[in-house]
Symmetry: C2
């Protein structure tokens, strides 16, 4: 690379946080908003989000969930109706105290999540078992006042989808909770090319107001965890607090069983830190705003632009997101620019390619350039996009496996995590043990995999002896 | 209609406001949120909005505009940077005064519109004429504290798209302002089947901070106006206030010229009040969540459900939004339900239709039922959907023409408007005249058509004599 072209990105090996910030800002994915902790999602970043939304929305709808929209503003008193919920969210809410030039009689909370306002509506709408299951989702903004913020990872306001469902039985609700967790896992693997650690959160880490919280967690290139999606079984906690009852077939009124589940613009952070490299972003084809950039070389030479436009129109016709950059920047500048922006495929096309009937292609996942005979451009490029998508997932899976270390002692856990890994270990299940580990080492429990194994008779975190039926296999890591 | 099935809707002739509320609530388009003036858009209403968004978003992108997302929260001080802007919006903003458990040093405004926060970002991003034109749009929620609210028409929070563009010259910006107005007009006609009055707003009615505001205005079935979209030429008002400068080709720094333009969930209100009838909603096929409902008659009879499922799969395969209702409700209940919900086509299919090879179709725009031989179901239904879309626009155009009355005196204006019409009249152009008319009669100026005619030498509002080159042809009406 010719350095004069390069917008300097910090060294990811020595300063990963600065590398992340540089990538976010220099690729124009996002910028800082004027109010502390807020973020602007710039067009390039938003185009990634739109591609993610389209894929996720289709999956959610395929599970019989309809979109709706509930108000941003929630009466302060609603928050308090579910005891754990208010405890969890009260410290981080933004509060509207006057509006329309007047002090408000009741303070208003800007939604940090919408269980309370949605439950209020559910209690009006649901009458009978015939109304169940009832499944809605909304795409919206939420606000959680955070002390330290970073674009996409933790911001005062973020965009997300939140699904909320009502069921007649606990069994049905539990099943749906896991069904949506599986939607998230499949989406992350097949669309974002990010493999996930899947499992149940501990009591300490569960959603405020839930009976059980499940999560998908990804490992970033620095070995830290990014919680990427959660699905909660709420039991009857909210339906009791908000009096959501239905007339069951047996003629009695019962409280509904509930779930909620969400994923957010955080996933864009996961995308950056799972696939990015020293040159910048590496985007999986399925969400890349530009899948193929064509750079004409010596564009003024006869036939070059005609051939380029022909390729462009064929690729466009096949639904491939293609861009021709025939601006007056040098090819070198363009190469660096689109590499930084993570465009999966670059086609360089000049007089020699025209003359020899060649296709010169640079793939961003491997940073390799190859020249092959130009055949059916659409199938050549489609195949390569599929191959890149596949390869990126494969590579991320290998990274995940290589950075999951089975540990048996506290020292091993600490070493593994500090070396940039997830620790896989037995944990006694004691909240005090979990809290002490976090306080002393900043290592947190991520989740407990569904497939449990009793790999040791000692808690790796506190050394407590465990009987055969005691303790949990758990993933531990430092987390974003 | 058998009354026992019908969810009672107030008489639209005698109580139009109640008819509107009944339709909104009983069709489950929307409901009231717990905080005063807020609205819940229920799944059926939101599905309409999604169809509108998809159509509008494609049009916006086709004009070279990219989507982005800017923060909900704006520092209070930003609002004051443009003098007219703060005057217009300060009285209706909601203000966050504490967050994260602490009183805020600077109060925060919940965006009523985003010019100020977007201009702040523009001033960082824009350097050179090469960056221009710069065009972004966002789909988001905004908050304007209103005294009297009605679902979709006027709510404390609503959803909208707001486009914001920067240009090197006034001419380019003016052209873009009108280009986007035309996008809105075309969208409303061809997607919503609502014809528009197009023109320029008066000085009094323009956007706070704009040089010129243009609007599209629709006439509702009660003769009242619904402002359905606006496009503003902002000149350099904001670019001066926020110091948005670019280095021009001539080597000097200049302030950009700006536009902004928006449409909102209000358009759903326009849809309801343009096309609805005593039975409820009448939805244009292009935005109807269900375009065709199939009601099996005597579904247990041999062959009926097979034929119905076959129709369903053929229609689905052709991209038509079809629903089969084989629930245990009676056909009569179903007829009423889907008529109320405005489903464009109902197919009734029973043993007789099967035996005779017939297709029995009810079209909601005319409330007529016909039976024809069943041929190629996809082309029969596609043609009918197109015909309904065409007919709805045609009928709305006729209504608009029939309810536009040319007036020459104040008495004529008042009579025309009170009889449920728009008045088309000469106006002297004097703000005091406009204000007096509004105060005394609640009649407001809507807009001044581009094609001006000097139809009279007297101002119809105040009687002032007008020379050949004085006064404006203007539309007047009571407005939502």
């Amino acid at each position: 690379m010719n350095n004069e072209f390069v917008k300097k990105i910090a060294d990811m090996k020595t300063d990963f946080p600065q590398w992340y910030t540089d990538v976010v800002l220099k690729t124009e994915m996002a910028d800082y908003g004027p109010v502390k902790g807020t973020m602007v999602i710039r067009p390039y970043g938003y185009a990634v989000w739109e591609n993610m939304q389209r894929e996720m929305d289709a999956r959610i709808k395929a599970h019989g969930v309809d979109n709706a929209y509930f108000p941003l503003f929630i009466p302060y008193s609603y928050l308090s109706k579910e005891a754990e919920h208010v405890e969890g969210f009260a410290p981080e809410v933004a509060v509207v105290t006057y509006a329309g030039g007047e002090e408000l009689a009741e303070k208003i909370v800007v939604r940090p999540t919408s269980e309370t306002v949605i439950c209020n509506m559910f209690s009006k709408w649901i009458q009978s078992y015939r109304d169940l299951p009832f499944k809605v989702n909304q795409w919206c903004n939420v606000v959680r006042w955070e002390k330290t913020t970073r674009p996409f990872l933790r911001t005062s306001e973020f965009l997300w989808q939140e699904g909320h469902t009502l069921h007649a039985t606990a069994e049905d609700a539990r099943e749906h909770t896991l069904e949506m967790l599986e939607v998230y896992r499949e989406f992350c693997e097949n669309v974002l090319a990010i493999p996930m650690f899947i499992g149940q959160k501990t009591e300490k880490e569960k959603f405020a107001g839930a009976e059980t919280t499940y999560s998908i967690e990804a490992i970033m290139k620095d070995g830290k965890a990014l919680q990427s999606g959660t699905s909660h079984y709420l039991g009857q906690n909210f339906s009791r607090a908000f009096d959501i009852k239905f007339l069951d077939k047996d003629g009695t009124h019962k409280n509904c069983y509930q779930t909620s589940w969400g994923t957010s613009t955080r996933l864009i952070g996961a995308l950056i830190m799972t696939h990015g490299d020293q040159r910048g972003l590496v985007l999986p084809p399925k969400v890349a705003p530009i899948q193929v950039v064509i750079i004409p070389i010596a564009a003024q030479k006869e036939g070059v632009m005609e051939a380029v436009r022909d390729m462009e129109s064929k690729l466009k016709g096949a639904g491939i997101r293609v861009k021709v950059d025939d601006s007056d920047q040098t090819p070198g500048w363009k190469f660096n620019e689109y590499e930084m922006k993570g465009v999966p495929i670059r086609i360089e096309f000049g007089p020699k390619d025209l003359q020899n009937g060649n296709l010169t292609v640079f793939r961003r996942d491997t940073n390799e350039k190859t020249t092959t005979p130009l055949g059916d451009i659409v199938s050549q490029i489609s195949d390569l996009l599929n191959e890149i998508q596949r390869n990126m997932l494969e590579r991320a899976k290998e990274f995940k496996e290589a950075h999951t270390i089975t540990c048996y002692t506290r020292d091993e856990v600490i070493k593994a995590v500090n070396d940039g890994n997830f620790a896989r270990a037995m944990w006694c299940g004691d909240r005090a043990c979990e809290e002490r580990l976090k306080d002393e080492t900043a290592i947190t429990t991520r989740n407990m995999p569904f497939k449990q194994e009793h790999i040791s008779d000692t808690c790796a975190c506190c050394g407590k002896k465990l009987k055969e039926d005691e303790g949990k296999l758990i993933y531990l890591a430092k987390a974003y």
